[in-house]
């Protein structure tokens, strides 16, 4: 085993480096990703090692980043683009939804778009507006895009490489508040689990808590805290939001009879709504309570001094579990 200890930021950097070593067609594009290494330093040192033809500091125009990525993909390249912050993906929304997502379909399967769109997402970093958003449902709702979210350094190391290798476009969501907060031992010679799969990260029996991205640590915290109340929560890290991997979810809910979905994104028409619908369609007779959702409130993201009140935390998760159990 060749283990290295890495933060999520480091894991992304190492994963991107390995992807670039493996395939000379991989190019990175984004604002400030070159000499600066990106505002989160994810691409630190990559321009120095791979040159400015492969690590491209783009003009400050997001539609331009995605639109030129489409052209590079048509020429046989595999662009990995960095959107500096979640709230700035919208200028590129048209290119992502109308062009990137549809090219394969429109061309009758002849032309794919092997593009990775990396988006640091979610809140909890005390940032000014537009820097803490969770736009995943907008992309998961779009046919032709795949959407994944990582939650820990080890998964991240593998998921970014798998996303780069994917022949289909992948929106790759990175929980920015976890970039530097935790470290993990990563065996770089291990065999990774498939990208588009969900995983039980904590087995349990009382209820199933479903989460992804930054909400996974919240769910895990809730599970730890719940032990004191005699709760034994099963936590599933969804990892893939489109396509959803409902197999492990259905299996878990059939066992526990209860499910709570947790995400930072607004609750209205969020991922939780889709997941709740699918669970009720597939596990109706196993359910002891309706599927409950814990999410951001249906307001714009609030000022940072009150964001902790807005973000789902372990108390709100446990409250939802209690309500489910009391049904």
């Amino acid at each position: 085993m060749t283990a290295t200890t890495m933060s999520m930021a480091k894991a992304l950097n190492a994963g991107l480096r390995r992807a670039m070593d493996d395939d000379s067609k991989v190019v990175l594009m984004g604002e400030d990703i070159g000499r600066l290494g990106g505002v989160f330093r994810i691409t630190d040192g990559l321009q120095k090692d791979f040159g400015d033809e492969r690590v491209i500091d783009t003009p400050l125009a997001e539609s331009g980043i995605l639109g030129t990525a489409v052209g590079l993909a048509l020429r046989g390249y595999r662009p990995v683009v960095e959107i500096q912050f979640d709230g700035f993906v919208y200028p590129a929304y048209d290119q992502i939804v109308s062009q990137v997502a549809k090219y394969r379909y429109r061309s009758g399967g002849r032309v794919g778009m092997p593009i990775v769109i990396r988006i640091p997402f979610g809140g909890g970093i005390g940032a000014v507006e537009h820097h803490s958003e969770s736009p995943e449902a907008q992309f998961a709702h779009t046919p032709g895009l795949k959407v994944v979210a990582c939650s820990n350094p080890r998964d991240t190391y593998w998921m970014i490489q798998q996303a780069v290798a994917s022949p289909d476009p992948v929106v790759f969501l990175e929980p920015k508040r976890l970039y530097h907060s935790t470290k993990a031992e990563i065996d770089v010679e291990a065999t990774p689990t498939p990208l588009f799969s969900s995983q039980v990260v904590r087995p349990g029996t009382s209820a199933t808590v479903l989460a992804y991205g930054p909400a996974v640590s919240v769910a895990m915290g809730a599970a730890e805290a719940g032990l004191a109340d005699g709760l034994d929560l099963e936590v599933i890290d969804l990892r893939t939001l489109s396509p959803l991997d409902m197999g492990p979810v259905h299996e878990s809910v059939r066992k526990t009879g209860r499910a709570v979905v947790v995400h930072e994104a607004h609750r209205n028409l969020g991922m939780g709504a889709e997941i709740a619908a699918r669970i009720s369609e597939e596990c109706f007779y196993s359910l002891e309570a309706p599927v409950l959702r814990v999410g951001g409130y249906d307001t714009p993201y609030p000022p940072s001094r009150v964001e902790e009140a807005w973000l789902p935390d372990l108390d709100r998760v446990l409250d939802a579990v209690d309500r489910s159990l009391a049904w």
Binding site: V70, G71, L72, L74, R75, G109, G144
Partner: protein
């Protein structure tokens, strides 16, 4: 308004069919090349006329006519080298012709049996793009790819490549087009921005898009711009040839404004009598892109009369084929609509396809009963 019209156009063939000199540009083909261009112009116009008629007969859902813009498209399309790549809007039927895309592929798209199923790599011709301006960025990105492939400025014949991005006058107001200008300029990308200023964006005249002649916009981005008589196939060819060569050499992007006119409606669903005067159309008729080439060929006796009748016969044959093939086009099997969303069908889509299949089957048993 005067400013929008006044700057001189690069012209090499007058509307009367007379060759004229220009200090910076010359057409370097012989009369046989001009005769070949004439054939392209006629056949492209025939594709367009047939398509409009087929739409009237209910065989196509809609058609965007290129009537009046044949020279802009053939002149630029024939300036492309095989290794160059073109990114069209939805109106570049003449460029498609030059790129050997069978007109049937276009007709399938406008009939609604598919969404543009030619192979972009086989023809070096991107898919039709309806979202105004989006393709100019694709062109720029593709040109950046050419740079990374080391296929610019090598001087090796057949290796250096360039890209043409087609767009309209209306498109010049789009953010994407302006972003494409910025990207291409700072990257020094081998791309030619080819704007067909056909004076109208549906019902809005060019004065709604700009206060300066469009070709002058280039200067602000840091590359050359030129306005060419878009109805003069020789001038368009000369100007585009030069811009492409410049791009292939590594001298960067340029903007061509082909000054032309949309003779027909915006599309078959449009009614231009609501927003423009017929005398404007009549004036532009005098500048027809085909007439002047015919007049020239006749005057210099470059071809005999049989040449013209042969082309007419060829056009007729093409029309017959397109009519027959369009009418024979089957609707796609609805179960195929679940394919090609991803490289491999996801289990979710497979399940939806199955759901659809059994639903359709249940309807059939219903009918059978």
């Amino acid at each position: 308004m005067a400013d929008l019209v006044d700057p001189p156009l690069v012209q090499l063939l007058t509307p009367e069919g007379e060759r004229v000199e220009h200090p910076d540009y010359r057409f370097d083909g012989d009369d046989q090349t001009i005769a070949a261009l004439y054939r392209d112009l006629v056949l492209t116009r025939r594709v367009d006329t047939e398509a409009t008629a087929l739409q009237r007969h209910g065989e196509l859902g809609i058609w965007a006519s290129l009537l009046g813009q044949e020279a802009a498209q053939i002149g630029s399309g024939r300036a492309l080298a095989p290794q160059d790549f073109a990114f069209p809007t939805y109106r570049e039927h003449g460029v498609a012709w030059c790129r050997d895309v069978d007109p049937m592929a276009l007709l399938r798209l406008f009939r609604g049996t598919d969404q543009g199923t030619w192979d972009p790599d086989e023809h070096n011709f991107g898919l039709y793009t309806i979202v105004i301006g989006a393709q100019t960025l694709h062109a720029t990105g593709y040109a950046m790819g050419i740079q990374r492939d080391g296929a610019v400025g090598t001087g090796e014949a057949g290796r250096d490549a360039a890209v043409v991005a087609y767009f309209g006058d209306g498109a010049t107001s789009q953010g994407d087009v302006n972003e494409a200008f910025v990207y291409a300029a700072v990257m020094n990308a081998p791309v030619v921005f080819f704007c067909q200023n056909n004076q109208w964006a549906i019902s809005e005249p060019t004065t709604r898009q700009t206060r300066v002649p469009l070709y002058q916009r280039a200067a602000g981005f840091g590359f050359p711009g030129v306005r060419v008589d878009g109805n003069d196939v020789l001038a368009v060819h000369a100007v585009t040839t030069e811009a492409l060569q410049r791009a292939r050499e590594g001298s960067g992007p340029s903007l061509i404004e082909a000054f032309t006119y949309r003779m027909g409606a915006h599309t078959t669903t449009d009614d231009p009598t609501r927003y423009r005067h017929s005398d404007e159309v009549e004036r532009w008729k005098l500048r027809d892109p085909l007439e002047r080439v015919r007049a020239y060929l006749r005057r210099v006796n470059a071809v005999d009369e049989a040449f013209f009748t042969d082309i007419e016969a060829e056009a007729e044959e093409l029309g017959v084929r397109l009519r027959a093939e369009v009418r024979a086009l089957p609707d796609p099997d609805p179960t195929t609509l679940f394919g090609n969303v991803f490289t491999e069908q996801t289990p979710e889509l497979a399940a939806e396809q199955e759901e659809f299949r059994s639903w359709s089957a249940s309807l059939e048993t219903e009918v059978a009963r």
